[in-house]
């Protein structure tokens, strides 16, 4: 697997010290080619955000966290870099946008100043050139009449506009990888759609790779090349988006797929849901398969922890003891009624 843009290998993220330490992300491996869009999906609290923050290194200096494994980015293990070297990657080669555009911009600084700060750090441009670049970026993310809006403060922008400004800020360093942590969750539905289309267009224009974190499988179907399904800090299934949607290999994925609301669904059937809630990892991880307490297909063997193993289709591993035939029946029906 030489020369992929990002190659995360056996990443463990542990919160706190022994005893009482909690493994928030466990033995997570995934990779990403240049220009590829990977969606990480799962319920709240399954480790998606922690994974994203680990890749860009937002939690590496936090003494409460311990990160082990490897995060190879463009041939270098980011976990081995010192904070200084990591700062040169953050905002330049890897950028991130966040869930809540209301709080992710500094209320006291003008939009222009916030984008300019990134340009000043990562480019050699002079003051005037930076301002011209800020205008370009704001125009690129679809802010109308950017020359009149450039010196606005965040509170003068709507939520969607703020997220656009945030995206402009992320693009300032011309990143190879953009991490988008539920960037549309806090927005209303029509704005969500606009932001998704914007991200898709910018990705096509710039050729950057994107890690898109969401719990909305409808979004995944629309934009993803590949999907990584996380549960309790582990990857339970990953693969090309069409393959995973057509042939889910893990009951959790099947359950998530079955619980997508669809406008054309018959009125009789209730919207399916996965019973129970994901484990709170700080209170202990379930023995064996972490999904076992909620799984309709659980059997004796699930008391042992399954490994991520190859399934029938290429590049589509899953972490489940079910036989190939049993898994085949997961497709289409989701969780049994």
């Amino acid at each position: 697997m030489a020369e992929r843009l990002l190659n995360v290998r056996n990443l463990d993220v542990v919160l706190g010290r022994e005893p009482g330490a909690t493994t928030l992300v466990r033995d997570l491996s995934f990779s990403l080619d240049a220009g590829e869009l990977l969606c990480i999906v799962g319920e709240s609290g399954c480790g998606k955000t922690i994974t994203a923050r680990s890749v860009i290194g937002l939690n590496r200096t936090d003494p409460r966290f311990r990160l082990t494994g490897a995060i190879d980015f463009d041939g270098r293990n980011l976990l081995d870099l010192d904070e200084r070297a990591m700062r040169q990657i953050r905002g330049a080669r890897i950028a991130m946008i966040f869930q809540d555009p209301m709080s992710s911009l500094n209320p006291l600084h003008r939009i222009s100043a916030q984008i300019d700060e990134a340009l000043a750090i990562h480019t050699d441009l002079g003051k005037a050139a930076r301002r011209a670049r800020v205008l370009e970026l704001l125009a690129a993310v679809g802010i109308p009449k950017p020359e009149t809006r450039i010196d606005a403060y965040p509170h003068q922008f709507s939520g969607g506009m703020r997220q656009r400004a945030m995206i402009a800020l992320a693009l300032a360093g011309d990143p190879d990888l953009l991490i988008a942590d539920e960037p549309t969750t806090a927005l209303d539905v029509t704005t969500q759609k606009q932001i998704l289309l914007l991200l898709a267009r910018l990705r096509a224009e710039t050729g950057m790779a994107v890690i898109f974190i969401t719990h909305d499988l409808g979004v995944v179907a629309e934009i993803a090349d590949r999907v990584l399904v996380m549960y309790a800090g582990q990857c339970v299934e990953s693969g090309p988006v069409a393959d995973v949607f057509r042939n889910p290999q893990h009951p959790y994925t099947a359950g998530l797929l079955a619980s997508i609301p669809a406008a054309n669904r018959g009125k009789v059937r209730r919207l399916a849901s996965i019973k129970g809630a994901p484990p709170v990892l700080s209170e202990g991880r379930p023995v064996g398969c972490a999904f076992r307490p909620r799984c309709d297909y659980a059997f004796d063997r699930c008391a042992d922890e399954p490994q991520l193993t190859a399934t029938g289709s290429p590049d589509h591993p899953a972490r489940c003891w079910l036989s190939g035939a049993a898994r085949h029946s997961l497709a289409g029906q989701g969780a049994p009624a």
């Binding site: 860009i56 937002l58 936090d62 003494p63 409460r64 700062r87 040169q88 990657i89 953050r90 905002g91 330049a92 950028a95 991130m96 966040f98 809540d100 209301m102 709080s103 992710s104 911009l105 500094n106 209320p107 006291l108 600084h109 916030q114 700060e117 990134a118 750090i121 990562h122 403060y153 509170h155 003068q156 945030m166 800020l169 992320a170 300032a172 360093g173």
Partner: protein, 314 residues
């Protein structure tokens, strides 16, 4: 923003009126007759009554208040019952030392406490953060006058480095003035620094959890710049309010410090006036102090508008 400031200014004027009434009635209704104090133990009842009438103290308090308010608004605060000097003159003489003491102490406290609080917040996970914060809490519990006395013993009595008492006006000798102010300013700052450090630390920890701090880090901003450009200004918004509230501590602390170090300021003037039932002076001191409090808080409201664009928009 104009409306915001006009509103605050109107509020300040109302506050001052309320304070004037409080200042007047609190003293006018207090037990004890100033005429009797003035004449001493040997005075006959007839003499006391005559002086009482002469001073206008036989009138009902409401009438006296209206007269007093009219005089005050025209700039006349009356005459001291004790020294027979105009209260205006006494206040004018006492104001400079107090202003110098209070403002310098506040400045020193802010310069020390804000960076310290920010650093403690940013390094809250380091091993030395806990002990330092505990030390700060200890500082809150130490009475300021005790620190003042310790400083006098060590710096003046033992080491003979600095004068233990007295005030040298700036106009007479700059170096003498500065030497006379060192110990009082240090003592008064010690009143202010620990609570301010604690407040800034908590406020900054709150700010460090904000999304825009993550954004700044994701941009690749250096931690020192994050602290200076993003955390400090946002922390300042709440801290400024707190400083306004701390003014009360500053004023009461100034009284104690002026007494300990024999500084002829407002605090000492007020205290002597209270002990001698010198009502016009007490009223003048309360009024001037309250006006200072209100003015500083008005200035703080204006400062908000400078720091926070959301306030400017109002």
């Amino acid at each position: 923003m104009v409306f915001f400031l006009l509103g605050r200014a109107a509020g300040a004027i109302v506050t001052l009126f309320c304070v004037s009434a409080l200042a007047f009635f609190a003293t006018a209704l207090a037990p004890g007759n100033p005429a009797a104090v003035l004449l001493g133990n040997m005075a006959t009842p007839e003499r006391v009554e005559a002086v009482t009438r002469q001073m206008g103290l036989d009138q009902p308090p409401a009438v006296r208040y209206v007269i007093w308010l009219r005089e005050t608004l025209s700039g006349n605060l009356g005459t001291s019952n004790l020294s027979f000097k105009p209260v205006n003159e006494l206040l004018a003489a006492a104001l400079p030392p107090t202003l110098q003491l209070a403002l310098t102490s506040m400045l020193v406290a802010v310069i020390v406490a804000i960076p310290l609080g920010l650093i403690l917040a940013q390094n809250r996970d380091r091993w030395w953060s806990g002990p330092t914060s505990a030390l700060v809490t200890l500082g809150i519990s130490v009475p300021g006058f005790w620190v003042g006395l310790l400083l006098i013993i060590t710096m003046s009595v033992w080491l003979k480095l600095l004068p233990s008492a007295g005030y040298v006006p700036l106009s007479r000798s700059v170096s003498g003035n500065l030497r006379s102010m060192v110990l009082p300013v240090v003592t008064l700052s010690i009143y202010l620094v620990p609570p301010l450090v604690r407040f800034v630390r908590v406020a900054a920890i709150e700010v460090l959890r904000e999304g825009y701090v993550d954004t700044a880090r994701a941009k690749g901003v250096r931690p020192s710049s994050i602290l200076l450009r993003h955390v400090a200004p946002n922390t300042l918004i709440t801290t400024i309010t707190y400083i306004g509230l701390q003014l009360g501590v500053l004023i009461s602390g100034a009284i104690v410090v002026e007494v300990i170090f024999s500084i002829p300021g407002i605090g000492r003037l007020g205290m002597n006036a209270v002990l001698n039932r010198d009502y016009p002076v007490v009223q003048g001191v309360v009024l001037v102090t309250a006006a200072g409090y209100v003015l500083v808080n008005l200035a703080i409201d204006i400062a908000y508008a400078f720091i926070d664009p959301r306030v400017r928009a109002r």
